[in-house]
Symmetry: C2
Subunit: 249 residues, 2 copies
Amino acid sequence: MANSRSGDSMTDRIVRVLETFTAERTMQTATEIAQRAELPASTAHRIIGDLITAGLLERDEDRRVRLGMRLWELALRGSRALRLRQAALPHMERVQSVIREHTQLAVLEHEEALFVERLSHLQAGANITRIAGRLPLNASSSGLVLLAHADPAVRERVLSAPLPAVSPETVTDAVTLRALLTAIRRRGYVIAPGSIESVSTGVAVPVRDRGEVIAALSVVLPRGAATEPAINALLAAARGIEQDLSALR
Amino acid sequence: MANSRSGDSMTDRIVRVLETFTAERTMQTATEIAQRAELPASTAHRIIGDLITAGLLERDEDRRVRLGMRLWELALRGSRALRLRQAALPHMERVQSVIREHTQLAVLEHEEALFVERLSHLQAGANITRIAGRLPLNASSSGLVLLAHADPAVRERVLSAPLPAVSPETVTDAVTLRALLTAIRRRGYVIAPGSIESVSTGVAVPVRDRGEVIAALSVVLPRGAATEPAINALLAAARGIEQDLSALR
């Protein structure tokens, strides 16, 4: 989790309640939420009640609690993620129609790759990413592109911290990683075989908005598949997204 | 706005701050937020500071405030909207590839149609809807389908309140609307010419999860276009979404 849990503001407590919900845990009792948020039961129950009144949480017939549609609505209206994926989706669909595997869009968020959109072919191979999911910057092809173009201060911070291994082939040596990032900036794309799963190869390119890299567009291919068509499709899509983003301004 | 502004809990104040952001207003100063949220400046500044610390808001170089990626992430992880649109998107793409106009997915939320996904062809005609936007139930084709299948108590409440006119052709007479809703339940779809804009016709069908209507799938066609292909494509897509939703359980 990127945010400290030691803060004590009301906002912090509300965030702690919302953070107990995950893709695997969409329904919880108030008692479970209190325990997972590490809040006194009375505090948690009051916050949950307020959040239900505001529509940010909803209660079902069995008195279990889930995230409310109103939270989704508030978060999406006027969000950067929505503008980006609106511009990106038609181009991602074009990549999908050619490559027919997984196509995803990620942004740099608190020194991780946060995936904001993903399209998957029904018969596509393995893929660990999910929408609103995160991966370490050194492990995913998207993360490598984002790290290569990150603010130098962020890059140095990531390079000087321990680099997590997601698979045996994840680059975890800082010197090797630094050379790889330089190569990514020079080449304009990355091919990352097996860095997440040995059966897959990630291919990613940067997406720019007014000259600045704001996202990475990637496909996940079965290991050993030709990467050339994917690189070409991704580079064309990235150019299209950049044009549409500038038209949205 | 569906929620009362008279509440005074901290949660309520936070929601009021978040509610000041819209698709047209993605960047604001703290002073503008305080005014729009009708909060004392000191209260608003403190909440904004806490929300920035938690990552739910972000500040840019010009000290203007926008919604944070972390809010988007919290709202999407484990949300009903995400599960629904994950199941729906491949089928919506199939509709788009045949009809090539606008395809959208809406849910019933606080007696309005809330649009959770929209795909648009680059050359498609007029369309007022947007993702995370709302329309009155009696005006949009999606809203009519959702109202036809709503809980009877919700339906009676909507029918007994004044019905807003979005266009001169919006059905605003309760007796006419009641007959239309009965026809929608019998036929399994609605064709709503001009109810939002005189140049467009909306066509919508219900989407079920375990027998219950949970969403409406619709296309917006230019007025006078053939509706038969759209109805067939929508009904096939709704069946596909229902199968995928049951597989996701």
